[in-house]
């Protein structure tokens, strides 16, 4: 027993020593010291983290009076983290997030309206379509700009070059992309010898389907007299039906890929089991890194329906309303997201910059890793219709995801799916309208 007590005592001493050394000050510097900003970044790819850290270092060297602390967060739980720190009044000064999350934070007064504080140069460098993705109601009847949009994603097609060439189909270009009909014909042709023409990873189908729905003018939501309802008419049904046909009629899409996350079909893609995988442009990084030696792949431009439009959301930098240094935070953001820096960030994340100056950077238009195709696809991006829908997140998780999964799995018909999306969806949205 004595030995046991001694062990406990030692442990207590060790932990006391460990704990006492670990506390950060978390507060501001003394009044005559530099201003300290906390920057919550969600960069997670190796090159992207390096680019972020390097930019912060450059800023800190050039601005000894405004020092930025780089804090790496995670996409997985950033909104939980932010809600608690907003509620508790201790948020980071500069916040990296994505535009769908900003709407709720803005209406609750957690974020600073940047519309009158951003420099003209930054405003002019980013097109209005991107600013639309961060313009939300302030919860008091007004509108504000609650972040600076800087990275966007479009949906492209990743194709196995050998299978594509062997099929003899026309290879699409950014100027002359495939229509959905051509895509369906191509995947049918490429379905042979145990290989499927396409794998649709549909673990999280909603954003993807809603974004592609714009190809045929499908918006899925309509707002009349301030009331938003779900709409699944002929335009919305087009993309749903076409994907369903590939799965169940043409049998050119592997049904077992339906439960997969975005990157999960890659092993099958590399093994020649899938000729084409539709995914966001950022997946080029994983394809380039993981492709076995000798495997040839191409990035094909976005599909075209009536138009090639896709719904865009943006990664954003915002300033917390509770920040003690809003002006300094805006200054930092203006530096961090200028044209040349956006090009570095986009390159690190394999995404599309919103800055027109960055899009013209040679690194964004090179043929290496199909940057030219990716950057050209940005012209099709318009603000995602669901971005301004209050209650969209709940609709997505409770109604959208299970209904689309059931439909694509062939368990319910298109009419049944549409009915569920509308009737159950409207009930959810109604609650948010009240």
């Amino acid at each position: 027993m004595r030995r046991w007590s001694a062990a406990l005592a030692v442990a207590a001493v060790v932990l006391a020593a460990g704990c006492s050394g670990g506390g950060g000050d978390g507060g501001d510097a003394a009044s005559d010291g530099p201003v300290k900003l906390r920057f919550l970044s969600l960069a997670w790819q190796k090159e992207s983290i390096a680019a972020n850290k390097q930019l912060v270092d450059e800023w800190n060297t050039a601005n000894p009076k405004i020092q930025v602390e780089y804090v790496q967060g995670s996409w997985d739980n950033v909104n939980d983290q932010l809600v608690t720190s907003f509620e508790a009044g201790d948020p980071p000064d500069v916040i990296h997030d994505d535009s769908p999350a900003l709407s709720g934070f803005a209406s609750r007064g957690f974020l600073l309206d940047l519309s009158s504080t951003l420099p003209a140069e930054l405003k002019g460098d980013i097109p209005q379509a991107a600013w639309d993705t961060v313009t939300f109601g302030d919860g008091k009847g007004g509108q504000g700009v609650y972040g600076v949009p800087f990275l966007q994603e479009s949906q492209v097609l990743f194709a196995n070059k050998k299978l594509l060439d062997a099929s003899g189909v026309r290879v699409p270009t950014s100027d002359d992309p495939w229509t959905w009909d051509e895509f369906a014909a191509a995947t049918k042709k490429m379905t042979k010898g145990g290989a499927y023409g396409v794998a649709w990873p549909m673990k999280s189908p909603v954003n993807k389907v809603l974004s592609l729905g714009l190809n045929f003018g499908g918006t899925f939501f309509t707002t009349e007299g301030g009331k938003t309802t779900v709409k699944v008419g002929p335009e919305e049904r087009e993309v749903l039906r076409r994907i369903h046909d590939q799965l169940h009629k043409d049998k050119s899409a592997d049904p077992s890929a339906l439960g997969m996350g975005t990157a999960d079909p890659l092993p099958g893609f590399f093994a020649g089991k899938y000729a084409i995988v539709p995914a966001g442009v950022y997946l080029r990084q994983q394809v380039a890194e993981q492709a076995p030696d000798g495997f040839e792949w191409v990035t094909l431009p976005p599909l075209k329906g009536v138009t090639a439009q896709q719904g865009a959301t943006s990664q954003t930098l915002s300033v917390a309303a509770d920040s003690k240094h809003p002006q300094e935070s805006v200054k930092f953001i203006s530096f961090f997201l200028n044209g040349p820096n956006q090009a570095r960030l986009a390159k690190g994340d394999w995404l599309l910059p919103t800055s027109t100056a960055a899009a013209a950077d040679p690194a964004m238009t090179t043929k290496d890793n199909f940057w030219d195709v990716a950057t050209a696809s940005a012209k099709n991006l318009v603000v995602a219709p669901y971005l301004k829908v209050n209650g969209y997140d709940e609709w997505k998780s409770k109604v959208g995801t299970p209904t689309l999964q059931e439909y694509f799995a062939g368990k319910i018909s298109l009419d049944e799916a549409a009915k569920k999306l509308v009737e159950e969806g409207d009930k959810v949205l109604e609650r948010y309208a009240q």
Binding site: W4, C19, G23, E69, W75, D80, A88, G261, K273, Q286
Partner: protein, 272 residues
């Protein structure tokens, strides 16, 4: 034959338990290309340490593991120190308060964490414990304590009251009886509770996420999650390498402490 079957079952169980660790090791040593192979192998074809280099180069794995260890040891020890006397009182002294106390312990287990996390944060801020490891250790103690109390109470109940009475008959006072008779018999219970509290704290993520703000104080779960991206995409290699190392301190703690986890001490202590 029966022994052989027993060993076979044991072997099966060990394989079942070891599988995730071996898979983690195998993944940590694979190149990105090999990880994306449709026919995965147990033994990497071209083993690499690049994942370890990436994990350690990009993130402060060692520092965050040390901080996690400090917090987990602190909360485990404090939990047991607080829970043990309370458990003894609950098990031995029967009163109306006991039922209320036990009921409260059980009710406290069903609160959704997310409901109390903001008030808790505010309390910590008032105490100036936000962004500090003692603050996190305190939170962990608060949340481990009810179940630890419940566990220890069961162990105390299992020690026959007659043993204490026998010690009194032999002239021992209450404290002497506690120290010489009850305490040694409670060691396995204390060890099990320590392990429970240690592992709960070692793995805890949400409170750490809310309480700790700066990278200098981040614990291991907060560091590991930095290898994950949006839509569940992860950097599997560095994550596996870092996770493998994350298991070592808890395994070591268990290895040191498990010898005390023996049962049967009281077998035959009381007859009739």
């Amino acid at each position: 034959m029966r022994t052989a079957l027993k060993y076979l079952a044991l072997l099966g169980y060990i394989v079942f338990l070891a599988f995730p660790l071996v898979w983690l090791l195998s993944t940590a040593l694979k190149t990105p290309q090999e990880m994306a192979n449709l026919d995965p192998t147990w033994i990497p074809r071209r083993p690499t340490l690049a994942n370890f280099a990436d994990a350690f180069g990009e993130q402060d794995i060692v520092g965050s593991a040390a901080r996690s260890l400090a917090v987990a040891l602190a909360s485990a020890v404090i939990t047991v120190v607080v829970a043990l006397p309370a458990a003894y009182a609950l098990a031995r002294f029967r009163s109306a308060l006991n039922k209320v106390a036990i009921g409260w312990v059980l009710v406290s287990q069903v609160f959704p964490v997310i409901l109390i996390i903001i008030p808790l944060f505010m309390v910590l801020r008032r105490l100036e414990l936000v962004n500090t490891l003692p603050g996190l250790a305190l939170v962990h103690v608060t949340f481990t304590l009810p179940f630890a109390l419940w566990m220890l109470q069961g162990y105390v109940r299992a020690v026959p009251r007659e043993l204490e009475e026998a010690a009194s008959v032999d002239g021992a006072g209450r404290l002497r009886a506690l120290a010489s008779v009850v305490a040694p018999l409670l060691v396995p219970g204390v060890v099990a509770t320590l392990l429970f509290a240690f592992i709960s704290s070692w793995n805890e993520f949400l409170f750490a996420l809310v309480v700790l703000k700066d990278p200098e104080v981040a614990t291991l779960p907060l560091t590991l999650v930095k290898f994950t991206g949006p839509e569940g995409v992860v950097r599997l290699g560095p994550l596996a390498a870092a996770s493998l190392l994350a298991t070592i301190p808890s395994l070591a703690f268990f290895a040191v402490i498990q010898r005390r986890l023996r049962s049967g001490l009281m077998a035959g202590a009381v007859k009739g």
